[in-house]
């Protein structure tokens, strides 16, 4: 039985379905990232799970108990706000100990948490005197202090500098794993979601369109939206004939067998550029080259289509060069979406 279960959650605001039937499961000890573009309903989902908003329909269960109508204080669910929402009239220790009762218990837990988060030296500091990374740690420590069954994190790294973000991300993951507290975090940053989560759920227009381990969702996107939202991709139409499909890139191996007209997702790094006299691949011409230091991105024209190709730093091609393009991995077969495909 999963720890948290959301069934058919609906939430309507001003005539718009912010949540349009969310189905979500979260296992014990798991770190789940819900990723989606802004306006997809991420924050609303967290607020409904935390009990800050009442859904119009649907149920939420925590460890098998129905908590849909419980007020936030009775849920055993911690929440880390995007702006941290630290209490400005309390110092660091006061913030962390806010949800704890009994002096001895509070002192013990606060001391332990401050220690664990490297905040002991700041215990008596006012919260506004801390750096962004430190505030974020205080917010997480505060949410963990009462020992919740689950912690929700709303865009936890969005207010940090890019340089700091990666480090804090690691820290947060380690802290959550050390505490053994399962967590659900929402983010619009696909890279963040892919790198931090045990499992990923993609939210689009109020629905979870795909969920699974990061590699699986990245490599086997089910819809054009998921394919494009999680990274750059080439959408290539073709005709499937079981294990392979005929496309403008020649016969392409499929990740899952299919028949008839299909839309394939081929990631740029799954394409290789070969010299024009190579025995494999299909002929193309380099249209553009973008140098990014650690690697290179090419735009290559094959037939009527411009393809994005990721190559390593050694690739010698220049715009105008003739090359051959080879598909190195099985392509993901996309199912058509109910909703119009958006341009990203």
């Amino acid at each position: 039985m999963s720890l948290l279960r959301a069934e058919n959650l609906r939430f309507t605001r001003a005539g718009r379905d912010v949540l349009a039937g969310i189905e979500l499961d979260l296992e014990e000890g798991e770190l789940l990232a819900v990723v989606g573009p802004s306006g997809s309903g991420k924050t609303t989902l967290l607020r409904v799970l935390a009990g800050l908003e009442r859904p119009d329909a649907g149920e939420v269960y925590l460890a098998g108990r129905r908590i849909t109508d419980l007020p936030p204080e009775a849920r055993d669910i911690g929440l880390v706000f995007q702006d941290y929402a630290l209490f400005p009239h309390l110092d660091v220790a006061g913030n962390v100990g806010f949800g704890l009762y009994g002096r001895a218990e509070r002192d013990r837990v606060v001391k332990d948490l401050l220690d664990r988060f490297g905040l002991t030296a700041f215990a008596r500091r006012p919260v506004h005197a801390l750096s962004g990374g430190q505030q974020q740690r205080v917010a997480l420590a505060r949410a963990l202090a009462p020992g919740p069954r689950l912690v929700l994190l709303d865009e936890p790294f969005s207010s940090l500098d890019a340089g700091l973000r990666e480090r804090v991300r690691e820290e947060v993951r380690e802290a959550l794993k050390a505490a053994g507290t399962p967590a659900l975090l929402v983010t619009h940053d696909q890279e963040e979601a892919l790198s931090i989560a045990d499992r990923l759920a993609v939210l689009h227009e109020g629905q979870i369109v795909q969920a699974g381990p990061p590699e699986e969702v990245y490599l086997r996107p089910k819809t054009p939206f998921v394919a494009r939202f999680l990274g750059h991709t080439n959408l290539v139409p073709g005709r499937a004939e079981g294990e392979t499909a005929r496309t403008l890139l020649g016969p392409v191996l499929l990740a899952a067998p299919a028949r008839g007209p299909v839309l394939l997702s081929i990631r740029p790094e799954h394409l290789a550029l070969l010299p024009p006299d190579a025995p494999e691949g299909v002929p193309g011409r380099v249209v553009a080259r973008r140098y990014k230091g650690h690697d290179l991105t090419f735009r290559v024209r094959v037939g009527e289509k411009n393809l994005r190709v990721q190559a390593d730093y050694r690739a010698p091609w220049q715009p105008g060069d003739a090359v051959r393009v080879l598909v190195r991995e099985p392509a993901a077969v996309l199912s058509p979406e109910r909703y119009p495909v958006l341009n990203y």
Partner: protein
Amino acid sequence: MVRRVLGYLPLAAYLLALALPLAYLPLRALEGGAGPVPWRVLGLTLGLGLAVVLFAFLLAFPLAWLRAASDYPAKRLLDWLAVLPLALPGYVVAYAWLSLGGRGGILPRLEGFWGAWWVLSLYTFPYLYLGLKNAFLSLDASLFEAARSLGERPLSAWRRVVLPLVLPAAAASGLVVFLHVLADFGVVALMRYPTFSYAIYLAYETGLDRARAAWLALWLLALVGLVLVAEGRLGRPRPPARPVRPWGVRLGRWQLLAHLYVALVGLVVLGLPLGILVYWVRQGAGGPGFLALGPALLGSVAAALPAAALAAALALWLGYLIWRYPGQGLWALAAYLGYAVPPVALGLSMIFFSLRAVPFLYQTLFLLVYAYTLHFLAEALGPVRAAYAGISVHLFEAARTLGERPFGAWRRAIWPQLTGAGLAGGLLVFLATVKELPMTLLLAPTGFTTLAIETWSRVEEGLFAQAAPFALALVLVAGLVTGGVAGFWRRI
């Protein structure tokens, strides 16, 4: 859903508490059928209102410009100078000027229209000062310069760029001043100039014509309603934007003239009234006035303290609702209705209401405090709302997710940041209540006396020396409270 309705209960209760007594006004007024249109009172009131707005504008405009658009050095002083008159009770200022003129005085007797006009302008101009100051502060210097570079002479650049940008704020503040003229009782009563407020009082107290008093009060309410509608049409004054480059006109040699003007205004609005007051205090030292000071002070505090505490508590509650459920502007506006009802009309309706519906409450301290709280709630709501606005709702929600029930979350996460504003709001209501005259006169229990009543009744009889200790006590309370509010305000 149920919770949200429950959350609005206090607001609904407040509105009911206000509407119930007010409903007795038309009831009483129309018992003998509608009266004649009070043309004379209407004309006198409108004339005074317009004249006061005009003069207050002329007084405030140069001050606001100096403060916000020039390099005038003493800007803090200017702010104090232009705000302190608000703390003085109008009838104390009127008393000072009255005692200067007439028999044995150094001026011709100042009364009637000119007296009311002079005194009301001197103590309501701060509203125009504040509005104009904000308008000038948000004005970008480059706008004026752009007009100049496009070929306008300074004067026509003013006319075509500066005035159109400043006038909406001036109009809004002008309406506020107008409302104060409508609501004022003390000044017009002492100057014997029967605008609505005074005419109502005369009809009720002297003429014992209650139907006419109610009828006039109804007209007064209609007039207030019209002004409020006009104010709504103007739209809410925008909060001052940060201009890219604020104005800093260099005064140069004109600075001397500016100093002279500021000194003159300071002398007339603060120095002279206070000086005259001190003179009368020395004249009457040890006289009968001083003996009655104790009971009057006690009475003032006994009425003002519960009203202040009640209003502050109510403001914290209503402020919370407005903060938690934003976008319900109408509800927020409702909280200001009680403030807009002129005290004479509110006091009168309280009398009718208590006599008819709850006779055991007639002439009790409870009814007086009830009326004060309804009327002055908005004064407490001002700082409280501002403080709420600066707090993230997330703090409340964070406390909820950490295990607190709604009230506990408010008390532990929000209230600690509101203490300053709550105290400031309470103090403002305290000051307003101590100064308040017409409702106190109409509703005070027999034998109950306050500083305001003692001051007014003595000045009315021309006993200037005897009135002095009470007036001075009022001014001291006003000074202390204003200082206190300024102190708490900084903590917000």
